[in-house]
């Protein structure tokens, strides 16, 4: 198998994983309020707020396909720091691990547990699967490292380009079109709040979001390189 084929397989495994996990998440979350707030930010203009996640997701895909594609690729720039800290918070607990520990199934508020298990799965698995696939299909560890890093870099570049087109096409449109992409990394929300809502400057918004997407794609690529090296087990 040549290098290009391996690269394509790695990127396709990423896209398929994100999509499959979205469907699983939609099936598990259904119309749960906490789950919808955490991983179900796919509102369709004028839609019923209690619409189940599955309907929301496919309506969003049909109504704003470019936005959905931007969201799909932006998953490569997810913020792994949310595992133990950052913007996800329930009460005093911030980050998935503290939240899952505080709000376990036998706690006083078990309703927070399952949505956060889904959130954590959607955060980690789309990054791990392509790295493992890359490790398994590569003949040498060096090849696995290069393939994984290149795949995440390309995913980041595609996400950035789609984001730029999406922002320029929809800037004067409704904010809901950006919601799905924003949920991939809470840092993007900060810049949506700062630039899009307070200083309506789309160039500054694009500069900040592109920086975030590229920084996190590179960091995730670097971390997943080690995962693919560990999974390859070859010289």
């Amino acid at each position: 198998m040549n290098r290009l084929a391996k690269l394509v397989i790695t990127i396709v495994s990423f896209i398929v994983t994100v999509f499959v996990l979205d469907i699983i998440a939609a099936a598990v979350i259904a119309d749960d309020t906490i789950g919808l707030a955490l991983v179900g930010n796919f509102p369709v203009s004028g839609a019923d707020p209690a619409l189940p996640l599955m309907d929301r997701y496919f309506q969003y895909m049909g109504t704003d396909t470019l936005g959905w594609l931007t969201y799909l690729f932006s998953n490569g720039a997810q913020n792994l720091e949310l595992i133990g800290g950052g913007a996800i918070a329930v009460g005093d607990a911030t980050g998935y691990i503290p939240i899952l520990m505080e709000f376990h199934p036998n706690s006083t508020a078990p309703q927070f547990f399952m949505p956060h298990v889904i959130g954590l799965t959607k955060l980690i698995v789309p990054l791990i699967v392509p790295a493992v696939v890359s490790g398994l299909i590569s003949k040498t560890t060096k090849q696995a490292l290069i393939n994984t890093f290149a795949a995440f870099l390309i995913i980041g570049v595609v996400a950035s380009v789609l984001n730029i087109i999406h922002v320029y096409m929809n800037w004067t449109s409704l904010g809901w079109k950006f919601n799905a992409t924003l949920q991939t990394n809470p840092l993007l929300v900060d810049f949506w709040t700062n630039y899009a809502m307070i200083v309506p400057d789309q160039t500054m918004y694009i500069v900040s979001t592109t920086t975030i997407i590229m920084v996190f794609s590179i960091v995730n690529g670097g971390v997943m390189c080690v995962v693919s090296a560990l999974s390859s087990r070859k010289k």
């Binding site: 913020n79 949310l82 133990g84 800290g85 950052g86 005093d92 560890t141 840092l187 670097g222």
Partner: protein, 173 residues
């Protein structure tokens, strides 16, 4: 001996810079540097806070903050404090660059970051009663704090050491 060099340098840079940036930020903010060591709890936090916190997010937010409001020394120190473990891992990796394989370099820097974290976490648990509600990392019970911080620190150390490996280019085995 080769392993020890990277291990020691990682620990020294991590703790040295953590304390330096924290002291500078405290000093500029008008605080008392000696207060950093006023209790077991505050001393312990120097060991683990920057490693067990979301450093990339904090540094990006601080960088954009500087871009918006101009050079602000506190924001600059917050940014540097957040990436201190990365600097330690990079310098630790560079120190081992010529003497070891990638696998050993990774182990030396990863353990170099985890050692001070473990000390800090144990100190914090021992002094848990000093803080009524531990809000810095979001843990309200030490039973959650102990494993949670160690897991988070291990993952973040994995991040930073991977970046250290990207800078040096050697064979994995």
């Amino acid at each position: 001996m080769k392993f020890i060099k990277g291990f020691i340098i990682t620990i020294a840079v991590y703790f040295g810079l953590s304390f330096l940036f924290l002291a500078l930020a405290t000093s500029i903010g008008g605080g008392d540097i000696s207060a950093l060591f006023s209790s077991t709890s505050s001393t312990a936090s120097i060991f683990y806070t920057s490693l067990a916190s979301p450093g990339i997010s904090t540094s990006i937010q601080a960088a954009f903050g500087i871009g918006i409001v101009g050079i602000d020394m506190i924001l600059l120190y917050i940014m540097l404090y957040a990436v201190t473990p990365a600097l330690a891992a990079i310098l630790g990796s560079l120190a081992e660059r010529k003497s070891n394989t990638l696998k050993h370099i990774f182990s030396a820097t990863w353990l170099g970051l985890m050692a001070p974290l473990a000390i800090g976490v144990i100190m914090q648990v021992a002094a848990w009663d000093e803080v009524a509600l531990f809000g810095v990392l979001g843990y309200t019970r030490w039973q959650w704090f102990l494993p949670g911080t160690l897991i988070m620190g291990a993952i973040m150390a994995f991040f930073w050491c991977s970046i250290g490996l990207l800078i040096i280019r050697k064979k994995w085995d």
